[in-house]
Symmetry: C3
Subunit: 349 residues, 3 copies
């Protein structure tokens, strides 16, 4: 696991994953217990009782509280111990660490850094993925590799034309830039904003993009990466030359979170205008999840092994023209980590 900033919001789960059940998940190298109160609020606490470090997720839920299965300590959603059976009075000073956690955009965002700096206003903006009238689906995957490898992966979408030739990329004998293709990318504070545009496409979209058959079109993807692990894609199409769409025909959320050593979480969500009925959800759920599991995850696991635990930049990689966005992201992450080391108690933005 490479280093990572902690004073930031990370995706802990899909909001739909949290409910009555006690969910155990490793996040930022720590065991975390996730559940939802009866009122519906998400709860995140260290999944280790402060007494003997038993996993609270193996325990019993009593209303909104959790009881450790080892010696019966009970904790409420604030982490306070509400019962220690062999104490004569209710104990003070016993608590399990909890973490701020907020539902937004279908994601449960966790803050595992300095608590006083946790401001939900700094949760990355994924509002553009929630489009009225579109079907929204989401998924959670893991892979055995560093979390930044998937940031790199998503920041250079030319990989679609080699890694994903049999699924979303489409096969071409000689893939490469097309006449008029545009790639722009710029830094904006803790974000990197880019656009990939491919003009004059005459074959149908792999998914469905609203362009009538026979009409040549341009397609572009507006990408916003927010430090450290958040990306939104707004994928748009318009008849050739128009260069403007009312709204994306598909919008995507991509979120990476460090798990444990050499392991990372990947959360994704897609809003789609095509196949816009519920009974098509399962097909697209499988389509997007399966691409990650069979094409991206094996690639990142290979790279993890080939890098042998070393940092990417220490290996002096060749930098290609389309790496500008990925390099901006890597440098922004490195600065965020360095800033935390200098002033660990001050929140990063």
């Amino acid at each position: 696991m490479s280093e990572f900033p902690v004073n930031t919001w990370w995706a802990a789960a899909l909001s739909d994953e949290l409910g009555e059940a006690l969910l155990a998940r490793r996040l930022l190298g720590k065991p975390v217990l996730l559940y939802r109160t009866q009122a519906g609020d998400p709860v995140a606490m260290l999944d280790a009782c402060p007494h003997r470090f038993a996993s609270l997720s193996k325990g019993r839920r009593l209303g909104d509280q959790v009881e450790c299965i080892y010696h019966g300590l009970r904790f409420d959603p604030t982490g306070a111990c509400t019962r220690s059976p062999y104490h004569e009075t209710r104990p003070t000073g016993i608590a399990v660490e909890t973490f701020p956690i907020v539902d937004r955009y279908g994601i449960a965002w966790i803050w595992m850094g300095a608590r006083e700096a946790a401001d939900p206003a700094t949760i990355p903006d994924h509002s553009m993925v929630m489009i009225d009238g579109y079907r929204w689906i989401a998924g959670h995957e893991t892979y055995r590799g560093d979390w930044q490898l998937c940031v790199d992966n998503l920041m250079d979408l030319t990989h679609l034309f080699w890694l994903h030739t049999s699924t979303i990329g489409g096969y071409k004998e000689e893939a490469g830039p097309l006449p008029g293709e545009e790639y722009i990318v710029r830094q904006d504070g803790n974000r990197v904003i880019g656009r990939n545009l491919i003009p004059n496409i005459d074959k149908p979209s792999a998914t469905g993009n609203g362009i009538p058959p026979g009409v040549t079109y341009d397609q572009w993807n507006d990408i916003v990466w927010t430090c450290p692990g958040s990306l939104t894609f707004a994928i748009q199409a318009a008849p050739a030359g128009v260069r403007k769409a009312d709204k994306p025909y598909m919008a995507q959320t991509h979120l990476m979170t460090p798990a444990g050593e050499g392991e990372a979480h990947y959360f994704w969500a897609v809003s789609r205008s095509f196949d816009n009925e519920e009974h098509h959800d399962a097909k697209w759920q499988h389509f997007f999840g399966n691409i990650f599991r069979t094409e991206d995850a094996p690639m990142m696991e290979d790279i993890e092994r080939n890098m042998g635990g070393r940092e990417l930049m220490d290996l002096r990689p060749v930098i290609l023209p389309r790496d500008r966005g990925a390099v901006m992201a890597r440098r922004t992450i490195a600065r965020a980590i360095a800033a935390e080391k200098e002033a660990p108690a001050i929140a990063a933005e």
Copy 2:
């Protein structure tokens, strides 16, 4: 594997496990070969030929000797090399390390420290577990966790009412101390001696305790822990208020031994007065072994992961009222380890 004292007797095996076959077992981080001579004496030696470190346990037994399967070196039970085929005369100065090993209380006890300090008189006393006329059964289990986690586990038996609710502990919505419950514990040299007493029980015992149906009774367990990994339990019952039993209705041996990194052995034995016929042995053998395998071992494996290889005390655990015995044991072990570091050649008490 946390540290451990070496100048002490550790349980290597159930005595019944040793026989004609060559048994390989990892003890205190070393490979050990265990067997029994034709006269019935237990033998323990390093399970690595001093020539090329082949496992002697893969070799051939010739009478009381063992022949290495790699190049034919033979060793007698003292560890002396009795034949090196390509030496012209019987070699001198070739030997495999052996370890004192003694059968007592149904257990084969091994001494892997400074040989001159190995005094069988210091084997922990389990004579109270061997009760005339009682059925005695025993088992060997392993778990992936530090050996001290099981000492902690057994020193705080309140875990019965949470971890073992479906087996020996019994389920209560609100488990906790009962009126008149007693917990006493005291240090006595390298031992910790305690009693847990629960008064005025009116439901039947999970096993059978000799109290007639309908009679309210008190039940108590006299516990002796001996540094580093030995416990005896004398579990007794008497009609309420009598507070005295001729003898335990059940007595137990519990022994922990470090195996390798993050792995430990657990040996147990139970003498019982109930179901006191041989054909009931298999049922109780399964009952006690299965509780460990399905309830205790998974708990300790969880804790091992949650502790991430760190020392318990370095994690600053919350100390509860019923941890007094466990803390006394941890401190005694730490003192024994420290004493060996100061004077490694002097036997521990």
Copy 3:
């Protein structure tokens, strides 16, 4: 993995393993891609694209070139990048590391050290294994253990009479040297040359040695080890006392190559005079491969565990009379490693 010299030729593969397919193999701790050009020349390059370290072996072969499946970089057999799709002109200065690789004696030999020192004239001589009119078979195995353990194994063939009693060694209640048995061994530069001779054998050979039934014979094996991982065996027989054979009845190649941490390759080849028809090849292929997989490999894996990652000599092993050759080899290897540390850019002899 113990240390190893790098300025030397190591066996990378059987020549027959290389062809149109992209073969991934870990050698000397590095991922290596192996294939053969359309003209039949072997190619070896780092199996990690210099851009993002994707495995080139997962890519697409285009003529003699390889295209990375991640972002489409193409490399020719010299390692030069011939296409970077998003560069406006053919890129200069992008290359993947390649390694000299040479077919000889049915083996593809790789040089992973200082390139300027790679002289095929220093490939160990296995010409004596290629015998006109003999059937030649070969195999590739791996084991989880240090590469030098198999050098040790082959340098002391007395292990045949214990480890291989059920296959090539033959079972004797009291194995050991026979009257007149000879063992000579001497150092010759970076080689160790030895002979094992067993006189007056009256039982048939395990394989077939050309001696008529009923004739008592002598059998001897002329061994040449070349630093670091190469051995040839010339196994010969003649009626008792003759001590001379026109040619071996069987000749063998044995080659060890470090793979990754605690893992090694073993390549073998056998030329035989007996069963000298193609339809017998499969039987002997199974015979020799199976001995290694079921007898030698488990032995070396046991030893690897028992040594716990330490160097053999640091464990102060007992040295037996028949260890002279193995000790000479160990010392020669240690000198080669030390010489490279002093002058890393100068080729070893």
